[in-house]
């Protein structure tokens, strides 16, 4: 039985990778990809905890996160398409209308 700690470490690394992705990527879609990666990292940690506690709640949480992710991707991509139609760009930096 692989100890939970290694799973957690792995999920931490994946999460950090996702984070870096969010920051370095310049187009909205790519940012989305990285967010998905972070979500998966979180799911992994949840399942690892579910096993260590022996309680299925962790798994149900992952289940709900997955549906959530799906919904989020749908909406996100719809928004990106709408923005694209308006501004003809997916570059995140151009979308700085709310400048301080």
């Amino acid at each position: 039985m692989v100890p939970t700690t290694s799973y957690l470490a792995l999920s931490g690394i994946l999460f950090a990778l996702g984070m870096i992705g969010v920051l370095t990527r310049r187009t909205a879609i790519m940012v989305f990809l990285s967010v998905e990666l972070m979500l998966n990292a979180a799911n992994l940690a949840l399942v690892a905890f579910a096993r260590s506690w022996g309680d299925p709640t962790g798994q149900t949480a992952v289940f709900i996160v997955m549906t959530l992710a799906a919904a989020e991707v749908a909406i996100g991509l719809a928004i990106i398409v709408a923005i694209f139609r308006k501004r003809e760009t997916t570059n995140v930096d151009d979308l700085a209308a709310l400048k301080g």
Partner: protein
């Protein structure tokens, strides 16, 4: 006692005169205002004489409560106290005051503000009477500052210069300059008096702290009774000395008196010779029960008196203004009085005060007549040989000079001799100073006499004899200056010094222990000093070298005391005031400054709000990384 006129009448009458003349000047056209004022002072004189003649035990009449709980656990009330000392002083004030009022009617005859002048004179006499008759120190302080105010008003009487409307510009400029100097002199006098008054006030506060009351009769009883720390009384007496010094123009607060000559001559005669300046001596004499218990303070008084006498005499040697010479001589004679009261020879001091009032007022009035005759000319170097034009005034001036020089028969001799005897008895250096001052006094008065009356007339214009109204006061004062000495002929000359016994009833006397032989010796020395002084002046006059007296510039600028005060006291205080003002205005800018540059660092943050989503994301990352990192370090640290 009830049939006698009430004591409060004395100050009330001149005060009424002042009120009437100030409020309704138009009711008194021409010189009637002057006659009213003189009448008021005359009435006060009569009341003073009546009270003087049937004097029993000291009379104490109180009126209404005035200051909160300053008497023995009760409110201090306004009250008047008449004993031998204050009766005598009242007599001097009203008597000399009356004569000077009479003199002023003719002297100020053609002055546009004639009525107002008499209002102020009456106000002065009233305040002086309050000062002298007060039964408590605060009431005396009312008179004290009141006379200071009156002297301020009178010194600055010609505050806009006498011929400010004159046609030609040059005369106008001179008059404007004179206006500024007159106003400055008045202000200087008032402020210097105020410095002295602060000392007087502090003295009163300390007395109240020590004895719990400021009423003089109550204080006198408690002082004998209570065994209070010696240091307390010494300090209180020193404070009172500061007050006396301020009012009587002694060192170090003496520079205002010569400047006070800017006022009209009757003012100089009344205020700066006879009455106001003697207030300091009266204060010390009135507080004799304190000074008897404070030997150090008394030696201080004596030494201040001695040094001031010397200072006055030295400064008077080479003055060119007829009134300035007399002013410095007043300072010097006051020094004598302080010397006397400092040595607890109160009766000698008060006697000299009496005689000095007569002959100094006489000399000032004579000088006034001369100035009047020469149409406002005050420089002695432009006078001379006036005895031919003004024989009567010349005669009375001779009496005055002989009196002040201390020539026997004239009053100056008796009073000065008594002081020198007291000085010899207690401290030799002071006696020597006194003798030296007597010599110098004789010289500068001789110089005054020869420059003004003898030799060729150096001025232009034609002097004329004074009118009758001026002659009456001059004559009376000359008689008094000559005969007053006989009031107090000392025992070794066959007299029974009636004056000492009279004053002795109010102030305890110290027995004279000097053997008769030494008294004779002292008298001879004193007379010699007077004769030598006059002779020296006569010889210098013969050589025609009198115009510039010895000690030259040092004496003319009165030992540069004035200049010293200017740059030691007034210049720095002005500078500090300026600095404080800028500081005060500065506090507001400081506050605004803080507000302004608080917005500076704020600017930095705006850069960070760049609007780029990823910038915010980075900061979030860094934030989380920091927190979790800290948490991780903590767990490592705790060796989980």
């Amino acid at each position: 006692m009830d049939s006698l006129p009430a004591l409060y009448l004395l100050p009330l009458l001149p005060l009424l005169g002042f009120a009437v003349l100030m409020v309704l000047p138009r009711l008194f056209p021409g010189k009637t205002g002057g006659w009213l004022a003189t009448g008021m002072v005359g009435a006060a004189f009569i009341v003073a004489v009546i009270r003087y003649l049937n004097q029993g035990a000291p009379a104490h009449e109180t009126l209404w409560a005035w200051l909160p709980n300053m008497a023995l656990n009760a409110n201090l009330s306004v009250g008047f106290w008449l004993d031998q000392l204050s009766a005598l002083m009242a007599l001097i004030i009203t008597g000399v005051g009356f004569l000077i009022h009479l003199y002023s009617i003719s002297y100020m005859g053609h002055d546009p503000k004639f009525t107002r002048f008499f209002a102020f004179l009456n106000f002065f006499v009233a305040m002086m009477l309050i000062l002298v008759l007060a039964d408590s120190y605060p009431l005396m302080f009312v008179g004290w500052e009141g006379v200071g105010m009156a002297s301020y008003l009178l010194i600055g009487f010609w505050f806009n210069g006498r011929n400010s409307e004159a046609g030609d510009a040059q005369v106008r400029a001179a008059s404007d300059a004179e206006a500024i100097s007159n106003s400055n002199a008045a202000r200087k006098a008032f402020i210097m008096n105020r410095i002295g008054d602060l000392g007087f006030m502090l003295g009163m506060f300390l007395l109240f702290k020590l004895y719990g009351t400021l009423s003089i009769p109550e204080l006198a009883e408690r002082v004998e009774g209570a065994q209070v720390a010696q240091a307390g009384i010494e300090l209180a007496c020193l404070f009172l000395l500061v007050g006396a010094v301020g009012k009587s123009g002694q060192l170090p607060l003496t520079t205002w008196l010569p400047d006070a000559m800017a006022g009209p001559t009757p003012v100089s005669a009344l205020i700066h010779a006879a009455t106001m300046v003697t207030a300091g001596v009266y204060l010390v004499a009135r507080s004799h029960f304190l000074y008897d218990l404070a030997p150090n303070a008394s030696t201080w008084v004596a030494w201040v008196g001695g040094l001031t006498a010397l200072y006055g005499a030295l400064s008077a040697l080479n003055q060119s203004d007829i009134k300035k010479i007399l002013a410095y001589s007043t300072v010097s004679q006051l020094g004598y009085m302080f010397l006397a009261v400092g040595l607890h020879a109160y009766s000698a001091g008060v006697f000299h005060l009496l005689t000095h009032a007569f002959f100094k007022a006489l000399l000032f009035l004579a000088a006034g007549a001369v100035i009047h005759a020469l149409h406002e000319e005050q420089d002695v170097r432009k006078m001379g040989g006036l005895h031919r034009f003004m024989p009567f005034t010349h005669l009375v001036s001779v009496a005055g000079v002989l009196a002040i020089a201390g020539i026997p028969i004239w009053s100056g001799f008796f009073s000065k001799d008594a002081i020198l005897a007291a000085a010899y008895e207690q401290s030799l250096p002071l006696y020597l100073i006194g003798l030296g001052v007597a010599l110098l006094t004789a010289f500068y008065m001789g110089r005054w006499y020869f420059l003004v009356w003898r030799g060729a007339y150096r001025g232009h214009g034609h002097p004329h004899e004074a009118d009758t109204l001026t002659k009456i006061p001059l004559g009376v004062l000359a008689a008094l200056a000559t005969l007053a000495g006989f009031l107090n002929i000392p025992t070794f000359l066959g007299g029974k010094h009636a004056f000492d016994d009279y004053i002795g009833r109010a102030i305890p006397l110290h027995a004279h222990e000097i053997p008769v032989a030494t008294e004779w010796l002292l008298t001879v020395f004193a007379v010699l000093a007077g004769v030598i002084g006059l002779g020296w002046a006569f010889l210098a006059h013969r050589r025609g070298a009198l115009a510039t007296g010895p000690l030259g510039e040092l004496s003319r600028n009165s030992l540069y005391l004035d200049a010293l005060y200017d740059n030691v006291v007034s210049a720095p205080s002005r500078a500090i005031a300026g600095a404080l003002d800028t500081v005060d205005r500065g506090t507001d800018d400081a506050l605004n400054g803080v507000a302004r540059n608080a917005s500076g660092p704020g600017g930095l943050f705006t850069l960070w709000q760049s609007g780029f989503v990823r910038a915010y994301a980075v900061s979030m990352l860094l934030g989380t990384a920091a927190i979790i990192g800290y948490w991780a370090l903590k767990t490592i640290g705790s060796g989980a």
